[in-house]
């Protein structure tokens, strides 16, 4: 078994992990990046559409461009590719990993978890019917088309209106696949408005709200699906419609990938790693950033979080004294997701929240203090908040709420 030691070890080389590398390098410490795939970039590599980098690079880039341009900023770190971490011993600060070179035992001063997310597979929805081929998550379909040059099928429906599903509706249309429609079980869209406009409306692809699949047909390859209208989460009798298709693409949510660390750190009820404003978990030398704390809309936010996690991890590795957690954020009325769960009394910081239903005009409050008024708030669009600990009483719970302003 080979033994290694680094000040900062970063798990995952996607946007958050690359950000963490940069943040840690700024503190002049030794940095090791561990990545399962053969290169950095994560899911950016298969996202050949544009829309990345508006905040970080002040221009619109494709995923691979964003990856390449960010990678140019990184120099002086070690990396292990095609390496999988199997176990973390957070008490002793040691992890075990394997690659084609064998088993590694790696000691870390501080660890950054940048493991991203996985897609919820269609199978997890427990939709009745058969189990044929021709059913893909949107990311898997994207992988086949963009990286392997293969089409998933000829006539597809898209279940769920998450961003990757919307992107794939356009991508497949451009490659000659007929998209019969996009079906969303909720009464509102799951992805960004700009994606609904640019990927569906511009291509005349219908989006059916409050409608979803209730049965799968076909024994070998998919032969079709039955869809129905939904009310209160249940299919409405008599609204069923059969759709002939050979491909179903599911864009039904992302799940923060924390399986490796469930036993080591606090995980929220949403499945995300619980962090404070320093991106620190409940273990002092373990940090987390990106989609494994909560699902983000924009890669730019993920990069910024990663940089902060890397920088603070390096400070811990150098034995700098870090601020203690003081305030606890709680999700109040109207809030589905918060990116940060605790605050120290340090500098103002950015956090991200999602509301739990669409609101025309919505006021975000921290206890009784107004923080921000947002027009057209939707669960699909993250709201960026700046929180200044010096302006709030940090004792007790800091309850974040979103209420609709009645006109």
């Amino acid at each position: 078994m080979k033994k290694l030691e680094y000040d900062v070890v970063i798990l995952g080389g996607g946007a958050a992990g690359m950000g963490a590398v940069r943040g840690a390098l700024s503190q002049k410490v030794s940095v090791l990046l561990i990545e399962r795939e053969a290169s950095t970039g994560g899911v950016l590599n298969q996202c050949i559409h544009n829309g990345f980098g508006v905040q970080v690079f002040k221009r619109e880039l494709t995923g691979p461009e964003y990856h390449e341009m960010y990678l140019e900023k990184l120099e002086g770190f070690d990396a292990m590719y095609e390496t999988t971490v199997l176990d973390i011993d957070s008490e002793n600060g040691i992890l075990k990993a394997i690659s084609t070179d064998g088993v590694y035992e790696i000691k870390y001063g501080a660890l950054v978890l940048a493991t991203g997310a996985r897609e919820r597979p269609f199978e997890a929805l427990r939709i009745p019917g058969s189990r044929p081929s021709g059913i893909f998550t949107a990311g898997l379909a994207q992988h086949f088309v963009n990286l392997e040059n293969h089409l998933p099928g000829r006539k597809a429906v898209i279940i769920g209106s998450g961003d990757i599903g919307l992107i794939m509706a356009r991508r497949l249309t451009l490659e000659g696949v007929e998209i019969e429609g996009v079906y969303e079980i909720m009464p509102y869209q799951g992805g960004l408005t700009r994606n609904v406009v640019q990927c569906l409306k511009d291509f005349n692809i219908p989006l059916y709200l409050s409608t979803s699949v209730v049965r799968v047909h076909g024994r070998e390859r998919l032969k079709g699906i039955t869809v129905a209208k939904f009310a209160n989460g249940k299919p409405v009798d008599g609204t069923e419609r059969f759709i002939n298709c050979d491909t179903l693409i599911a864009s039904v949510g992302l799940i923060s990938e924390n399986d490796l660390v469930e036993k080591n750190i606090e995980i929220s009820s949403d499945g995300g790693a619980v962090v404070d404003d320093l991106m620190r978990t409940n273990v002092d030398n373990i940090f987390a950033a990106g989609n494994n704390i909560c699902i983000h809309d924009l890669v730019d936010f993920v990069t910024v979080e990663g940089e902060m996690a890397g920088r603070n991890a390096a400070r811990v590795a150098k034995n700098e004294k870090m601020a203690k957690r003081i305030g606890i954020f709680k999700k109040g009325k109207g809030i589905r997701i918060i990116s940060v769960h605790y605050t120290t009394a340090s500098d103002p910081f950015k956090m991200y929240v999602r509301v739990d239903h669409p609101m025309n005009v919505c006021t975000l409050r921290m206890n009784d203090t107004n923080l921000k008024t947002v027009l057209n708030a939707k669960p699909s669009e993250m709201i960026e908040l700046t929180f200044d600990p010096s302006k709030h009483n940090l004792k007790g719970n800091l309850v974040l709420s979103a209420t609709e302003v009645k006109r």
């Binding site: 690659s99 044929p132 990311g139 392997e148 390859r221």
Partner: protein, 469 residues
Amino acid sequence: MKIAVIGAGIVGSLIARKFTRYKVDVEIFEKLPDVGWGVTKANSGILHAGYDDEPNTLRAKYCSRGNEMYTALSEELNFEIKRTGSLVVAFNDEETKIVEELLKRGKTNGVKELRILSKFEALEIEPNLSREVVSALYSPNAGVIAPWEVAQAAVENALNNGAKLHLSTEVKSISKEGEKYKLNTSKGFFSFDAVVNAAGLWADELAESAGVKVTPIHPRRGQYILLDQPNAVRTVIFPTPSRAGKGILVLPTVHNTTLLGPTSEDLPPNEKEATDTTAEYLAKIVEKAKKLVPLVNLSKTIRTFAGLRPENDIKDFVIKRENNMIHIVATRSPGLTAAPAIAEDIVEEIVEKFDLQKRDNFNPVRKAIPKIADMGDEEKEKLISQNPSYGRVICRCNKVTEGEIVEAIKNGARTLDGIKFRTAAMFGRCQGSFCTVKIMNIMKRELGKDFEDITKNLPNSNVVDGVVR
């Protein structure tokens, strides 16, 4: 001397393997593209203790003996058994009486180590069991296996010992031609001296084609929900049985997941491929499972599936002999548990009849695919240094490496499900959304197949359809 075994399910594969101990030519015919893909693939995978079967039935005769035989079998064939034990849970006095009946019946059937537990004893063995439990019948000998793995292992071992396997070859009928039997198959005619019909759901129709009358089979559908909830339960938990059957269970699997099911839906005899799941019954599974184990968490669903069990009106196995043909019909529950014992008797019968001699060079051992996830550091290090592809993790959910996938292909996997059911890659919580492409690239390299020609399981279950440009 040539013997045909029809059906590469658990019964047929164990029979075929047993025959390869003797100086006889064995050929296995399987309709599907892989072994163990019929009834064997989609059942609860339980080694029953044997208290449930009415005395003087073939079920009672073979169940507890089969259960005992599995231990030695697993040592030779290297498949995993978890001896989890089982509980039959009573929630009131009436059910307690039924549970006491089961204890008596178990003793009559010669089942060892059965005992009734108090509420507190039951909760000690199974802490997540409903607090409503009043008493429970405990059997430490019950266990779980991955049934398809046993069929794979037995067939691999049979092939190593000289048997021949015809996959994707449907036997349509059997006819007598002089002293021999002629099999009319989807790939032409074959002639044999003796025939064992272990064709699962189709065993009755095949017997009929040979002019042998047997009690007809109808499929009994069992739907399941598989959860990514490791260690939710330690034992196989049954409700108190009713006339409808053993009921809906909560049980651990060899893959460290939790299985809920099965339903028991009697379907018409012609619906032998009706493996669809239905909303009504999936909801029923959830309701019944939560009654047994309130903490089952449906948000951890990996997938649902359904299998068909061969049922008949007499609720027992039928073994029918005519000259040199043996038809094994309706190996319904506990057919999986009974299979090794049935195989032993059937083979011995034919061995005696034909005075078959043992071969000198029979090797009973089948090596399993090495599993990196189950190894200690030194063992991992050693294997990776011998073959670095065991250090490249392909399936991140179940930590399956490239070496394991290549080995599965060497063992006969030709489809994505062939790899899934040999390695547990794509079996986990992401259901292959990360590793499918990697596995297809390994198949492409190892088998020289284009992506277009790679299927999920059945012939027309292609994954992709053409290139982008």
